[in-house]
Amino acid sequence: MGLLFLLAALDGLAYAAQVFLVAVGLTLVFGVLKILNVAHGSLFAIGAYLASTLVGLVGVPWLSLLALAMAALAVGVVLGPVIERGLLARIYEKEHVLQLLVTFALLMILEDVQKLVWGVQPLFEDAPVRLLGQVEVGGIVYTVYQLLLLPGVALLVLVVLAWFLRRTLLGRTIVAVTHDREAAEAIGIDSRRVYLLTFTIGAALAAMGGALAAPTTSLVPGIGVQTIVLSFAVVATAGLGRIEGAAATALLIGLGRSFAVYFTPELEVVVPYLLMVAVLLVRPAGLFGSTELRRV
């Protein structure tokens, strides 16, 4: 029982780390663009597939971690600007329903592109996990990759992002546009540039979530959709637009899901959504949200 408990906690932590990376990008992008980007899940999936391919290509185990980072960066700086400038910039003034449909269509398109490029056979490439080896914690042999690397990267992203948004001028322009786009423009902030920058960061974070998840699981079509649905749950539970909130909620939902896996497996899939519904019934604006102030 004790071992099972520990195992559930470790799994939950690793899982929460992945979920956080995706959800934080989603919430950051929503805060600025005011568009709930359904295609965020595709960026996760493409990041995962590209990471697997790159890891396979470099062959050398000690370069495999670098390959993961390169995959995330490549998706962010290539697909990010293409999608924001080419597609989203055309629909900022449109109704929310239309925006949702457009990003949903993009999700479907990218899902097909992904099937075209990588096929439908499961892809498994765990060189980065093997590279880092295993350790024993409390009688359980666990991979260093999941025990330390995933939570470590998530924590680093949280700290760096919070610092960037609060302490740097560029970060503050993002927060200002999140609060009030027109007021930001009126004091000299180029909101188009902020949109582009934010979407690129968000895309890179989604892809990083995918790249880091790739070595721990078989990649199959549909992981993008699965991810976006779970991220919505996290972001809605946290309250849209809050990055620390996304971290705490990812932890809650990650742990909740993994405990369900071990103790009530039949509920595994629904636990995140049960948590979401329970929270939203009590606090409609989310755990960390407030209806009047939207913070980053």
Partner: protein, 220 residues
């Protein structure tokens, strides 16, 4: 310095400004007076480039601003305090005030000088510098919004209903600050809107009346 000629603006398909003519010379202090819904805020937003012109022109120092994006206008020396303050609530007062100067990329000395000017004119803000803007009272927020506009408004200051919602004592204080500012900076141009023109009398020289999107009169 600032001149609007036959400015027409539409919001959501409805024509809101219908040929607005307005001039604010260097050192001019112009009041834009009109009832609720007359088009005062819309005029300010048009000047700042926050709404596109359907027709007409907005010139600053003789240069047409129509094609200039809103975010490039503060660099001309224009500062704008919107009517509902619109501070960034999670930033401190100082962060709110500094931000417009920082995004301009001013040299450190110039940035310091601009902030000095603001703190000196609004000493009551100094002790509130580290307070989050979201935690300010309405009156304090108005002062902070004025401060933020002053940082870039070295040549033209646009104040949309600065007295609205201020308790009488605060309104008097706000008026004193403006009077001191225009006294000290003779070439600063000021455009200030108000539904109650009496409050503006001490420091304006021209009153322009706006009604249903048209300027009725501009009297000295």
């Amino acid at each position: 310095m600032l001149s609007l000629a036959r400015v027409e603006v539409a919001i959501a398909g409805a024509r809101i400004l219908r040929g607005v003519d307005l001039a604010v010379p260097a050192g001019g202090r112009v009041a834009l007076v009109g009832r609720n819904g007359a088009g005062k805020t819309t005029t300010f937003r048009a000047i700042m480039g926050l709404l596109p012109l359907v027709a007409g022109s907005v010139r600053f120092d003789g240069t047409e601003l129509a094609g200039l994006p809103a975010h490039r206008r503060t660099a001309l020396g224009i500062g704008y305090a919107p009517e509902d303050r619109r501070l960034f609530p999670t930033f401190t007062v100082e962060e709110n005030v500094r931000l417009p100067a920082e995004v301009l990329g001013l040299p450190a000395a110039e940035l310091r000088a601009r902030l000095e000017r603001v703190w000196e004119l609004l000493p009551e803000l100094v002790e509130l510098r580290d307070r989050r803007a979201g935690a300010l009272s309405g009156g304090q927020g108005k002062m902070a919004a004025l401060a933020r506009a002053l940082v870039t408004g070295t040549r033209l200051l646009l104040l949309d209903e600065p007295f609205q919602g201020l308790a009488p004592a605060l309104a008097r204080r706000y008026g004193e600050i403006l009077a001191r500012l225009v006294e000290r900076e003779r070439s600063l141009a000021l455009l200030v809107s108000e539904s109650n023109p009496e409050l503006l009398a001490p420091f304006v020289d021209t009153i322009a009346t706006i009604e249903r999107g048209e300027i009725l009169s501009a009297a000295g």
